[in-house]
């Protein structure tokens, strides 16, 4: 029996029971977001750094709905298109309240939202030197993943498909190669569309998945949050249980001896 309580996700020496990380964007309201997070069982949520609305002082704050003492905030650099912007964002995030565990995401193209890996690599080096624990959004390229690891990344987060596309894992082989070469937490980030995509990621040996749009924009976000929670658990259990070998021909499940 796979004891999932003992099978925690360890990132930068911190243990989490849930292997599902969720984003907090694109929800209809903050209360909807908070409820979906609760149902997903996620212990880490990504958040964005943006200007305070100084003309509307009564606007609700994310921290009023999601308690950073109970849920780990993972500040993200979504929307940054170069190293300078990403570094500025994460230094500010750290200043808000001491956040050192961060998600680096440096985008290279406004349409496909693929990461700019040159800028990402540069930023990882600087942030690691400054004491940040950097989880890095990246392409599903094993060579780049290795370089990130050598630059001090604390987790490798390859995309399944373009951000928000819902296409699911497009390159299973690359994900498996990255899995084989790294002992760092490997977390699929971006592009998942439905719960079974998360199961597939976990069955490939990933340590976790990060989901935002697939839950927030589902017709029933609460049900989808629950579906992803169960899908991640199912995928992990399946992976740990050791699947059968694939064979070309049929192999009967009932004994051939004693057939009447």
């Amino acid at each position: 029996m796979v004891n999932l309580k003992k099978d925690g996700l360890i990132i930068a020496n911190k243990k989490f029971n849930s292997r599902l990380i969720v984003g907090t964007g694109k929800y209809k309201s903050m209360s909807e977001c908070a409820k979906a997070i609760k149902l997903s069982g996620a212990e880490i949520v990504t958040v964005a750094v943006r200007r305070v609305n100084i003309s509307d002082k009564n606007k609700p704050l994310l921290m009023d709905y999601i308690d950073p003492k109970k849920i780990t905030y993972l500040p993200n650099t979504a929307g940054c298109f170069n190293s300078k912007e990403a570094l500025r964002t994460l230094r500010l995030a750290r200043e808000i309240g001491g956040w050192k565990l961060v998600k680096l995401e440096v985008l290279g193209d406004k349409k496909n939202l693929f990461p700019d890996m040159i800028e990402t690599l540069k930023s990882t080096e600087v942030l690691a030197k400054e004491g940040f624990k950097v989880m890095v959004y990246c392409n599903d390229d094993p060579l780049m993943a290795k370089r990130l690891e050598n630059s001090g990344a604390q987790a490798i987060m390859p995309l399944a498909a373009p951000i928000g596309s819902g296409l699911g894992i497009q390159n299973k082989i690359n994900i498996q190669i990255i899995r084989k070469q790294t002992k760092l937490p490997l977390i699929i980030d971006a592009g998942l569309g439905q719960a079974s995509d998360a199961t597939i990621a976990m069955e490939l040996g990933c340590d976790g998945v990060l989901v935002n749009t697939a839950i927030a924009k589902a017709k029933k976000p609460f049900e989808m949050a629950l579906a992803f929670k169960n899908a991640v658990i199912a995928g992990r259990q399946s992976f740990k249980s050791g699947r059968i070998d694939k064979i070309l021909m049929g192999n009967p499940s009932s004994p051939s001896k004693g057939i009447i």
Partner: protein
């Protein structure tokens, strides 16, 4: 009567008129900024929130006040 001198500064991209020699702490207080939930930049340099009492603002200063919002 002594005339109060005002200066213009930019906060989060918006031009604001403040009393000359105001300190940063007072300006943030007037805006009701919850200090424990934000980070502050003055002219693109991060400010230690413990020191905002001692920072006097000058003409054309640019302040950025950021916080966490929902994101992926």
């Amino acid at each position: 009567m002594k005339k109060i001198k005002k200066i213009k500064i930019k906060i989060n991209g918006k031009i604001k008129s403040i009393i000359k020699d105001s300190n940063l702490s007072k300006v943030l207080k007037n805006l009701k900024i919850p200090l424990n939930k934000v980070a502050i930049e003055l002219n693109e340099e991060i400010i230690d929130k413990k020191k905002i009492n001692k920072i006097k603002l000058n003409k054309n200063d640019k302040i950025e006040i950021v916080h966490f919002i929902g994101g992926g």
